[in-house]
Amino acid sequence: MSVKAKDLCAEEFFYGHKACAGCGGSLAVRNALKVLGKNAVAVLPAGCMSAVGFNFPQLCFGNNAIISTFAGTASMLTGIEAGFRARGITDFTAVGFAGDGGTADIGIQALSGAIDRNDNIIYICYDNEAYMNTGIQKSGLTPFGAKTTTTPAGKNIHGNIRPKKNMFEIAAAHDIPYAATATVGYMNDFLDKVKKASEIKGTKYIHVIAPCPTGWGIPVSDTVEAAREIADCGLWYLAEYENGEFTLNYDPKEFTDVTAYLKKQGRFRHLTDEDIAVIVKSRDEKWKKIRGSWNLK
């Protein structure tokens, strides 16, 4: 069932937008819509993708799309899904695209409500690990050590002091029909998961890492490379939750060097060896748990 580039809908549904060059978020949105096709009805909260895609009269979505309130991605999806059903329409997919702040912080209550009701929607979190649209402020998904404009790296505090919230497992803890993690670095895996989600009834949650060159401090040409490396070095994992079970999709024999991944990025350049040791330790503990209790593909 693997989705290949040639299987994608030839039309573009997110085009002419004003996202920064090399934007990982726009890559995730673009390709998810090419899997779901023209009858996708997209909800995007206030945030990067809505800011770059919906400036009247420059409207960059080729399919039906609407901006929600920042906190309201999931609740607006619920309303649209119910409304279309009331109109007797069945051949559509209600899909939301919210950033990390819109998902793990301000939107988590509405998302939890939608999963609780098991509304028939797909919720995709494009995670660029900070509030990038407003100028790189810390979100609940900013990783440990990252420098943002609200977690500056100084002598006393080396950037963000808290690890990422685990949104994938938070979604899974609702006993959601389907949840998955992905990265835009491994596009086919992401596309497969979007396709799979579109074939499951109930609420689906996909969490996709989508690097932001501006916020991460990497060259605009390195988005995909960074999005691969985060999975290769073990700071992200590709997994699914379905029928009450976790499955790991990608189990690297050997992790690539965490320090190399971190030091390429401006946001981590200040980290000391001790800071990096903390990151490696928490990575290893996580993987020990994953390999000990999840299905390994």
């Binding site: 809505s50 309130t69 607006m76 309303g79 899904e81 119910a82 409304g83």
Partner: protein, 389 residues
């Protein structure tokens, strides 16, 4: 028409059933809860064919209703007080997007201190949110406004969300006899909702977009113009309503004995009844007094009020509201209207009923007396006294 013994909340729920919304999304809050309980029962027993969405907050209640409206269907929600404030962000969203959602608000005090009883500070603090605001006096008017609100909001020229306010407990929980129209008659009154303001698979839309400084104010101007259009659509709705159901309403304001009145109380909501009774009593004693009940705070009845008070010697605005550091919000609005239309009479503000505190017949009598005697203080708190300068 079958008569039923109903509370304001129950009567409103009956009106909503007759209006047949496709999607209802609501979160419980006292004193609104009875509405959502009744509607849930109606969905359960099949007498209402709607999607009832159990949202996890008021913000989601209105956000979900906006989604449903953007999908092109009729949407309803209900809230009160803190809930209304919690969803406030979505209010301007619904009005700016021109989504004709109907919401019932049970007027209740806002914290702090916590209090579940009725005053009107919740809705009056949101006059600028772009919603039509009506204030019902009793159960019958609640039911009738439930039906009329959809008619008015969904009119193509108006296409603006509609908030119907019921005084907490005094209307929401007070049982009265009310006529419940037949479903067939309600169908004759309220046409199905049709709109182009929707997501559409045949003709895809990008909705709820941004508009920069060059265009933004034109959108806002058109939003304002649409609200003004509501004035004639309210008249049209009431005319049609009277034809079908035999009950008449009087537009943005309701006047009582104002024609030759020297002293007039201007108020809104359930307290108007006691004001009229008091006026009757004083009339019997030879006093020329009258009452104006504001039915709609938005669109605001500026010219109507100026005309109604044109021949009065003085007017007093009685309201369950205070805009801290200034005066009652309704008082400001009334004064502005009188000034704009050249009705220059002394006006006084009487603030009462905050946090559900009782306003008695003798309080109202004192207001009429005070107007007649003339008052040094413009802003007066019932039971406390005039504002200290």
């Amino acid at each position: 028409m079958p008569k039923k013994f109903l509370s304001g909340d129950e009567a409103f729920a009956e009106g909503v059933r007759l209006a047949k919304p496709d999607v209802i999304s609501a979160y419980p809050i006292t004193p609104q809860t009875i509405v959502v309980e009744r509607l849930s029962e109606m969905v359960e027993d099949g007498s209402l064919d709607a999607e009832f969405i159990h949202v996890e907050s008021e913000h989601s209640a209105l956000s979900c209703a906006i989604g449903a409206s953007a999908a092109g269907v009729r949407a309803f929600t209900a809230t009160s007080s803190q809930g209304l404030l919690y969803m406030a962000e979505c209010l301007t969203y619904a009005s700016g997007g021109r989504f004709p959602i109907v919401m019932m608000n049970a007027n209740r005090s806002t914290a702090l201190p916590w209090n579940i009883y009725g005053d009107q500070r919740d809705s009056l603090s949101l006059l600028d949110s772009g919603w039509i605001q009506a204030y019902a006096e009793n159960a019958q008017e609640s039911l009738d406004l439930a039906l009329m609100s959809f008619y008015i909001a969904e009119n193509e020229k108006v296409s603006t969300p509609f908030m119907v306010n019921l005084d907490g407990f005094t209307v929401t929980h007070t049982y009265e006899e009310a006529d419940v129209p037949e479903a067939s008659a309600a169908e004759n009154f309220l046409p199905p909702y049709r709109t182009e303001n929707k997501l559409d698979l045949e003709s895809p839309k990008n909705m709820a977009f941004s508009a920069g400084p060059e265009h933004n104010y034109i959108f806002k101007y058109k939003e304002h113009r649409a609200m003004l259009e509501a004035v004639s659509v309210i008249e049209e709705a009431e005319r049609k309503f009277a034809e079908i159901f035999g009950r008449s309403y009087t537009g943005l304001i309701e006047e009582y004995l104002t024609e030759d009145a020297d002293f007039v109380i201007v108020t809104l909501g359930s307290i108007a009844g006691l004001c009229r009774e008091t006026a009757d009593k004083l009339r019997a004693a030879g006093k020329k007094v009258g009452v104006v009940r504001i039915r709609y705070m938005r669109p605001f009845p500026a010219s109507q009020l100026a005309a109604a008070l044109k021949n009065a010697k003085a007017a007093a605005v009685l309201e369950k509201d205070i805009s801290f550091g200034n005066e009652g919000a309704v008082f400001s609005e009334v004064n502005s209207a009188l000034f704009r239309y050249g009705t220059f009479i002394p006006t006084y503000n009487f603030i009462g009923g905050l946090g559900g505190r009782n306003i008695s017949a003798s309080d109202i009598e004192s207001i009429f007396e005070a107007m007649e005697k003339g008052l040094s203080e413009k802003i007066n708190f019932i039971g406390i006294g005039g504002e200290r300068q």
